[in-house]
Symmetry: C2
Subunit: 210 residues, 2 copies
């Protein structure tokens, strides 16, 4: 293994101090996402996030000089983690039978998790804040591309077919809409029913040969 979870050189080449610093960094990033999702944008101050990570404000600012740096890094880090997880999880799912149901269910649940709720806080504020939007837009585009590619791969879809490409996009837009519906109250039962109906629609997309 040459790379650890955070994309830095592997554990074999680093000192104990570097390892601790990296572990602190990871805890800060995870706490930032957790705070945003549960306490919202305004309450997720640098002080609150440092507390939740069990570190000091100074230590946090050593890693992330501004609140904006921290929040963007946190979303980016958690996103990479989650994409890798979903990818691995579905790499093990090889059957063709019921593939659409499985993939749609997973994608829809993914958009109702902590990461989506944290991102929603940031996207919404960025919608009315030009300065923040400049930082958020490239990240949003990266996320959109990566999740699209993931869905294409998992569904074994022929993305070169225009209607198939749009149905994949619609699937992710639907997932985002269902994620938003889950923000005020638990919407998982309804979401499961929608997933079942949607999976049937997806059977019509063009597939690549296995």
């Amino acid at each position: 293994m040459t790379n650890s979870d955070d994309g830095l050189p592997g554990d074999d080449s680093i000192t104990g101090q570097e390892r601790r610093s990296r572990s602190t960094r990871r805890k800060i990033l995870e706490s930032a996402v957790q705070c945003l999702a549960t306490k919202g944008w305004n309450a997720s101050t640098v002080g609150v996030i440092a507390d939740a990570a069990g570190t000091s404000r100074g230590a946090l600012q050593h890693h992330f000089p501004t609140r904006e740096d921290l929040i963007i890094a946190a979303l980016d880090y958690m996103f990479d983690q989650r994409v890798r997880q979903v990818d691995e999880e579905l790499g093990r799912f090889v059957e063709d039978e019921g593939r659409e149901e499985h993939v749609v269910g997973l994608l829809l649940d993914y958009y109702s998790g902590t990461l989506f709720k944290a991102a929603l806080q940031v996207w919404t504020v960025a919608g009315a804040d030009e300065e923040l939007r400049k930082h958020v837009l490239p990240l949003e585009r990266k996320f959109a591309r990566a999740v699209h590619d993931l869905a294409v791969r998992l569904l074994r879809a022929d993305d070169s077919d225009p209607d198939t490409h749009r149905m994949i996009q619609a699937t992710l837009d639907l997932a985002r809409g269902l994620g938003l519906a889950d923000v005020l109250a638990d919407d998982s039962a309804r979401r499961a029913r929608i997933a079942a109906v949607w999976a049937v629609q997806l059977r019509g997309i063009k597939s690549l040969p296995a």
Copy 2:
């Protein structure tokens, strides 16, 4: 006409002072939605909204004692207005040919307008604020039911058929997701392509006889 736009008794029974007060109330509500959509939750203070409405803070607070009262009333008022508009607009569209395209296009654009952007600001904050959520949830449920009924009526769908019911729900979840995608940057071109693909899917729902 016995009722005016704001659901109060019609113009024939009120005095000039009442008429002015009602007009101020309407301007305040419209300004609140506009401010939320363009400046975001934090910047939409009572003072900023009063300024935008060309009225005083005192006059605003005469109509709406708290910021929360104002924001909930503003979303509610604008929502009723918009549903009525869409209803009238589509009441005039009687052709069966291309009906799905027309309705889907309208619903999708509706969720990318000012009202959705204002509501998103409030929903997102409410997602992490239990007190606000108590006020917002009944409103959200009212909106969800009313837009569902509207979509059913416009599509002349047989909502008693479970799959049809879910496809209508999915359409609105998709619309919400596309609305969210439009918050950071203009997404109208992509939205139009998704609408076209989705309208084709909707041809499979069960219709009521005309």
